[in-house]
């Protein structure tokens, strides 16, 4: 027989003024199971809690009902009081007689009192069905997987590794560095990108807690938070990294030239190559698409010139496995292809380039030695038109969102042009200048004043060729007139789009993604780093377009989250999760379909006691379940129950009013 204690709070005047608290206590005492009922001025105060603790011991209570404010307010306080008295904290029920009665029925004390009594009765009924619950602990593998070796992945890996947690960093291309390695200078301080990035890259390579796996892809991720198992494919590099010294003899002698991705195809690289001089690791790989030894079986020069004998044309892809506790996804972004802008003649006019191509040209280690040139005739341009929002904020041709970084990098480009080409002039067609960031507006102002760049507010409608000039036509909405700019070079600030592999990777990881392909955070404001899948975090442009400071901040936030998971040997979890009664489960697996977290798997159990025949039933993964109860409502056999909100608990509430 249950022995329930009821504690009704005055909450000063908050409850007592509008609810007859003693009457509620009297009403509670009439319930058969209630063995003790009392009121007090402030139940949440220390003396109030002491009353609860004393009563538990004195009256051998089996469950407690506190009638006070909302459980969202003080449930935790009172649970602690229970545990202090040696009682399971989940035997508490809170009747919300403040927010749900005294505060909302201030004109009718009688009705408010009756309602409060009802709420107490419901809580008592529910508490009778309460069960003892215990916090769940899940063992944890203390190793993090970071996918992507751009600045986001590098930062996350370093921060996690600095906390002495092993990190596996997987990068798709032969070197880490990502898009940032392609930049010349960075806004708003004009730091040299390479200068601030390469030390971090070297740190990654030399860090004792980081295992860097370049030229590799994640193939599979199984398991749940703290206990993932990752399958990683190391692509064949045809170069033995262990013996290779990175001397460079191979790629100097290689006869096959192909467009250089690092320089946006402006110049050529070899079929055996390191992406750029500061690459980490600084070991070449053979691009199997182009190497004639691999495609046609002819050549073999690199092997001949390699003193260490590191070239291995027979190398195969290798699949390795790692046990992982948490994952940081930092796959970065791609740039939008401006082909749909037919009215600009994209593809027809050689002197229309994208911003990243411009960036490579003005970069000191770039293909044109830091001077922008016209692709058509190699001349140095004087009049350069920058057009922003190419693809961004354009539902018709591109995407709806603002790419966030184009305003700033275009500002930077006007400065770089001003520095590199004497007597040059920039025209910037813009729609808005979005310079929200530390030092950004100041940067824009400085650029406008220093360079004298002409800002024209409007979208360009057409570009056509006149002689060797490109005529750029748009409205300057500020003066309400159509202007045409004679340009030597046109630079398109193309939109940031998610890495094209994002949807595939997201499916593989079990993370959701939006209509563009950005992976979705668990909550847009309060959980911007987590995904809905526990233990998988997002850094940088995987989640949305971001500049470098934001990316680095998010990467460090990821690291903090990962370290949080790894803080103990086990993870503690709220016990209010679903459990399956195997006896009743018929194995229809509808719960598996509706679970938003993929927390339900199946297992084989014997058909009957000692039977050899097996049948399939559902099994809840305690580490993953978040306790929403979707599975409970779709379980026709009532085989699943959600601790804290079981069917008996809720039905007791319903029938006890």
């Amino acid at each position: 027989m249950a022995r329930v204690g009821v504690f009704v709070c005055f909450c000063g005047a908050n409850i007592a003024d509008f609810v007859d608290v003693p009457a509620v206590v009297e009403e509670a005492k009439r319930i058969r199971e209630v063995k003790f009922a009392i009121d007090y001025k402030y139940m949440c105060s220390d003396p109030g809690q002491q009353q609860i603790r004393d009563a538990i011991v004195q009256h051998r209570l089996t469950s407690i009902v506190v009638a006070a404010c909302s459980p969202r307010m003080h449930e935790k306080t009172f649970r602690k009081a229970l545990s202090d008295a040696g009682m399971n904290p989940y035997l508490l029920e809170v009747a919300n007689i403040r927010e749900h009665s005294s505060w909302v029925h201030q004109k009718d004390k009688k009705a408010a009192t009756a309602k409060a009594a009802d709420l107490v009765r419901m809580a008592v009924a529910k508490s009778i069905a309460n069960e003892q619950l215990h916090e769940i602990s899940v063992p944890v593998t203390k190793r993090a997987l970071v996918i992507g070796g751009g600045i986001a992945g590098i930062q996350a890996a370093l921060d996690i590794a600095d906390a002495r947690i092993p990190v596996v960093l997987v990068e798709k291309s032969p070197s880490i560095g990502g898009k940032m390695a392609q930049l010349d200078e960075t806004f708003p301080t004009l730091d040299c990108s390479q200068c601030i990035l390469t030390p971090k890259m070297v740190d990654v390579a030399s860090h004792p807690y980081i295992e860097l796996i370049p030229y590799a892809e994640v193939l599979e991720l199984d398991g749940f938070v703290g206990n993932y198992k990752a399958k990683i494919k190391k692509k064949a590099s045809y170069v033995n990294f262990k013996t290779c010294t990175g001397c460079g003899a191979c790629w100097q002698k290689c006869p096959v030239k192909v467009p250089n991705e690092y320089n946006m195809g402006i110049d050529k690289r070899k079929a055996i190559y390191t992406p750029f001089p500061q690459a980490v690791p600084n070991k070449p790989v053979i691009d199997a698409r182009y190497c004639t030894m691999l495609t046609k079986g002819k050549c073999g020069i690199c092997s001949k010139v390699c003193e260490k004998g590191s070239i291995d044309y027979k190398m195969q892809d290798e699949i390795i496995e790692r046990e992982i506790g948490a994952v940081v996804v930092a796959t970065g972004y791609d740039l939008w292809d401006p082909k749909p802008y037919e009215e600009y003649g994209v593809g027809r006019f050689k002197d229309i380039i994208t911003s990243l191509e411009f960036e490579r040209m003005v970069s000191a280690n770039g293909p044109t030695n830091g001077v922008p040139v016209r692709p058509s005739d190699g001349k140095v341009p004087k009049n350069v038109v920058f057009i922003k929002c190419i693809g961004s904020r354009d539902e018709a041709k591109g995407i709806e969102y603002c790419s966030k970084i184009c305003c700033m990098y275009t500002t930077k480009h006007t400065i770089l042009l001003h520095h590199k080409v004497h007597g040059s002039h920039s025209y910037v067609f813009y729609m808005d200048i979005r310079a929200a960031g530390k030092g950004y507006e100041e940067f824009v102002k400085k650029a406008q004043v220093d360079t004298g760049a002409t800002y024209l507010r409007g979208r360009v409608s057409k570009i056509y060729k006149k002689g060797d000039k490109l005529m750029v036509r748009g409205e300057d909405a500020q003066i309400g007139q159509v202007v045409e700019v004679e340009a030597d070079l046109v630079v398109l600030a193309t939109a940031v789009v998610p890495n094209k592999d994002n949807p595939d990777l997201a499916r593989l990881l079990g993370v959701s993604y939006d209509k563009y392909g950005y992976m979705s955070e668990a909550h847009p404001k309060l959980r911007p780093v987590e995904t809905a899948k526990a233990g998988i975090f997002l850094a940088g442009c995987t989640q949305a377009p971001k500049d470098i400071p934001d990316t680095v901040a998010q990467a460090s936030a990821c690291a903090a989250k990962v370290c949080g998971i790894f803080a103990g040997d086990t993870m503690k979890k709220d016990p209010m999760i679903s459990t399956v009664n195997k006896e009743f489960c018929s194995g229809c697996q509808n719960c598996v379909t509706v679970c938003p977290y993929g927390a339900i798997v199946t297992e084989e159990v014997p058909m009957g006691h000692g039977s050899k025949e097996m049948r399939t039933v559902a099994k809840i993964n305690e580490g993953v379940c978040q306790g929403c109860g979707s599975c409970v409502a779709v379980c026709r056999s009532m085989a699943i129950s959600l601790a804290g909100f079981t069917d008996p608990q809720i039905i007791n509430e319903i029938v006890s009013i």
């Binding site: 009215e343 929002c389 904020r393 354009d394 539902e395 018709a396 041709k397 729609m431 507010r457 409007g458 979208r459 360009v460 409608s461 057409k462 036509r473 748009g474 409205e475 300057d476 909405a477 309400g480 007139q481 159509v482 202007v483």
Partner: protein, 190 residues
């Protein structure tokens, strides 16, 4: 100065949106239409400004603007509009609404355009087909610009460019019915 009041009273916006099937509120004033439009510099207000004026509910100015009459419906603007607004449809809707509510732009150019269309329709009403010589002559007479293009006419006639006679449509009844129906439907709008 323009005083702006409650937007609920902006019937212009609702009317234009309803009639055109476009949503003017989507316009974010990028001006791509203006620099696209071949005739924007002939207009009182180029399309971008018309959009904003519709949003502000400046009914009289919008209805009396010559912009809608100058619009050639070439669809270049809507093809390039990043928000995919059917600008020609908006222009047409404004023109029709202005016609229905008896707003008339009294400038000579608009009058000439209006006259041209009136004469053209008149001709179809009569013959079922268009008849270019008559169109030119009648337009010149009615716009009191008798000698316009007079230099062109002889060459054109000589070269057989412009026929002297027209072969009217046989079922004139059908054509008449169409015009009647159109008038009736327009009356309904009013």
């Amino acid at each position: 100065m323009i005083t702006l009041g409650l937007q609920e009273k902006n019937t212009l916006l609702t009317d234009v949106n309803k009639r055109s099937g476009a949503n003017v509120l989507e316009c974010y004033q990028c001006g791509k239409c203006v620099s696209t439009c071949p005739v924007s510099n002939f207009m009182d207000f180029p399309p971008r400004e018309i959009m904003q004026m519709v949003k502000l509910g400046l009914k009289e100015q919008v209805y009396l603007a010559n912009s809608t009459w100058f619009c050639l419906t070439c669809s270049a603007c809507s093809g390039r509009c990043p928000r995919e607004i059917e600008i020609p449809a908006v222009m047409e809707a404004i023109r029709h609404l202005a016609l229905e509510e008896n707003y008339t732009n009294k400038s000579a150019k608009v009058k000439a355009i209006r006259k041209f269309h009136d004469i053209f329709l008149d001709m179809i009403r009569r013959y079922g087909r268009s008849y270019e010589l008559r169109l030119m002559v009648e337009h010149n007479i009615r716009t009191r610009d008798l000698f316009k293009d007079v230099m062109l006419a002889p060459t054109a006639l000589l070269k057989g460019k412009i026929p002297l006679l027209v072969k009217p449509v046989k079922s004139a009844k059908a054509i008449r019915r169409m015009f009647k129906m159109a008038e009736k439907l327009e009356q309904k709008h009013k």
